[in-house]
Symmetry: C2
Subunit: 322 residues, 2 copies
């Protein structure tokens, strides 16, 4: 029921995920609405499992309060399926805050993990670069960020398939002495871990394939990720304006259209699928609110990869309370 | 002597500034090197004033230490000319840290200003959007950020010519309750000032002409600005790759070249000139290290605008100690 184009695009994405990747998807939400969409998309009744939830949490509700008040909200019902082991992973394009709150209340943290972190996959390399935290924790302690780095390394290795992933700390300069007090302390602690810590990385180097995992606090990370999306939007919008500003550009622009679309696609958050919530006791992926069917399909595919990667066990054994 | 292409591009930029804007520029640094450049560029001896400085501060030196140790460094000599009133403004493409340290030691802060802030002009609107702080203060207190907002408003009004400029706080959500402890406190304080505070702005809205001044701490601001530059670089680089990937694209790409260059230009930090250091007792502008002659010219032009705008007096009367 979540996202700007729900349930239509979410249902369509689930169908695609089954057809293209053979995934078994259960659609959780208002049964009548979902079945109507399935029928409209030409699906035979029963081809995709529908689990009814009588409530839904809106984007404008207070996340934690709504999760507590609406026991039968689709987010809670789906999260409970993961807890009971009926589902291997949770995917939603709904309220990020509500998904995080429900994950914490229903699944809880992996014992030993202080705070979960939201990761996003920046589209600057073929495998993508994991950036975390991008919004779960506006205020952090150094110890949280060390765990983000460790969880990120496990994710990059297990899910992105990168051996001995390079982990960097987002900072405003290259030297150890750069940055605010927080990152200076995190730098010192990361040097003592057994992850492949490659030092500081500046905002202008994020796209340069210098790291596989970039660690930051949830405030800076959120700003950085949203600025990236905004700048990409801005450039494509202005380019379109420039390319239609003169009559003799139009034919040339038409010839180049496939190249533009390919580039635009690459910068589209939907291409890489949703953002993982790491540190909770289950596989949780949150898709972009503006997800179309393809973005939902990609998120479901990534959720399957995460669930079958052994990532959770690796986090438990690498960081969990012994 | 500062910047990646000094002294050549700096000297060429000074010549352009004189020719195109009628500005009087003094070039401070190694006299022999500067005069050789002037001669090579066809300038008659004495057409541009040269002030000799026997030392220069490198990009790899510790800023504050170098500024203290090298009394006759070009940065110090030029800053001293501003202090003595011999020059109306300081411009350098050298070490940002050294320029800031020299400005603080030589000019000092405007009485009442707790910390100076570096501002940058984001190229998303015709006038540009002032973002500050972008690197002078990695750790801040709420009171610093309130002053950044106030100084930014004065700058936007006086230098960018925007009446009653809209001032927004960079945050990870729109509501008052969003963000870390720091920005929540700043939000509450900004509401009590007499500036035109329009509330929070998210990273993804920075390009949307919702504010004329965007206030942030020096850590987040630096990351945001560098990410913006990095993403723009990345997109243009990848677009070029895509547009040369197929034989039949090439002619079309050639037709569109002027439009691409215009767009690229717009995103180029050099177009808008250097970043102002606000809160010190003088006009100080720091150009991008990669500045070419045009960027230097634009920075000198902006420096002249700042010096003649009455900005310093306005900051003194709006914020200075009474």
């Amino acid at each position: 029921m979540g996202g700007d184009f729900a349930p239509k695009e979410v249902v369509a994405g689930a169908i695609l995920a089954r057809k293209e990747h053979g995934l078994e998807v259960a659609l959780v939400g208002d049964r009548t609405a979902i079945e109507a969409e399935l029928a409209q998309l030409g699906e035979a009744p029963g081809s995709i499992e529908v689990v009814h939830a009588s409530e839904a949490i809106g984007m404008d509700e207070h996340p934690a309060q709504a999760v507590r008040a609406k026991k039968d909200a689709s987010i809670n019902v789906a999260m409970d399926m993961v807890k009971r082991g009926v589902a291997g992973a949770f995917v939603s394009a709904g309220s990020t805050g509500a998904c995080m709150a429900s994950a914490l209340m229903t699944l809880g943290r992996i014992p030993g993990i202080e705070r979960p972190a939201l990761g996003t996959i920046a589209p600057f390399t073929d495998t993508g670069i994991l950036v975390l935290d991008v919004g779960a924790n506006a205020d952090v302690k150094p110890s949280y960020m060390v765990q983000f780095a460790q969880m990120g390394a496990v994710y990059a290795e297990r899910v992105l398939g990168i051996r001995n992933p390079r982990v960097a700390l987002l900072n405003i300069g290259g030297e150890e002495t750069k940055g605010n007090e927080l990152v200076q302390e995190v730098f010192a602690r990361l040097q003592k871990t057994d992850i492949n810590f490659v030092g500081n990385i500046e905002g202008g180097e994020v796209h340069k394939d210098k790291a596989d995992v970039i660690v930051t606090d949830g405030f800076t990370g959120n700003v950085a990720v949203k600025v990236t999306e905004g700048v990409a939007d801005f450039i494509f919008r202005e380019l379109r304006k420039a390319l239609t500003s003169k009559q003799h550009y139009k034919l040339a622009a038409m010839v180049l259209r496939p190249a533009f679309l390919q580039m635009r696609d690459r910068m589209d958050p939907g291409t890489y699928g949703g953002v993982p919530l790491l540190g909770v006791n289950g596989v949780v992926l949150i898709a972009h609110g503006a997800s179309d069917a393809r973005a939902i399909k990609n998120t479901l595919h990534r959720a399957h990869d995460m669930a079958s990667s052994g990532m959770l066990d690796s986090i438990r054994s690498a960081l969990g309370r012994k």
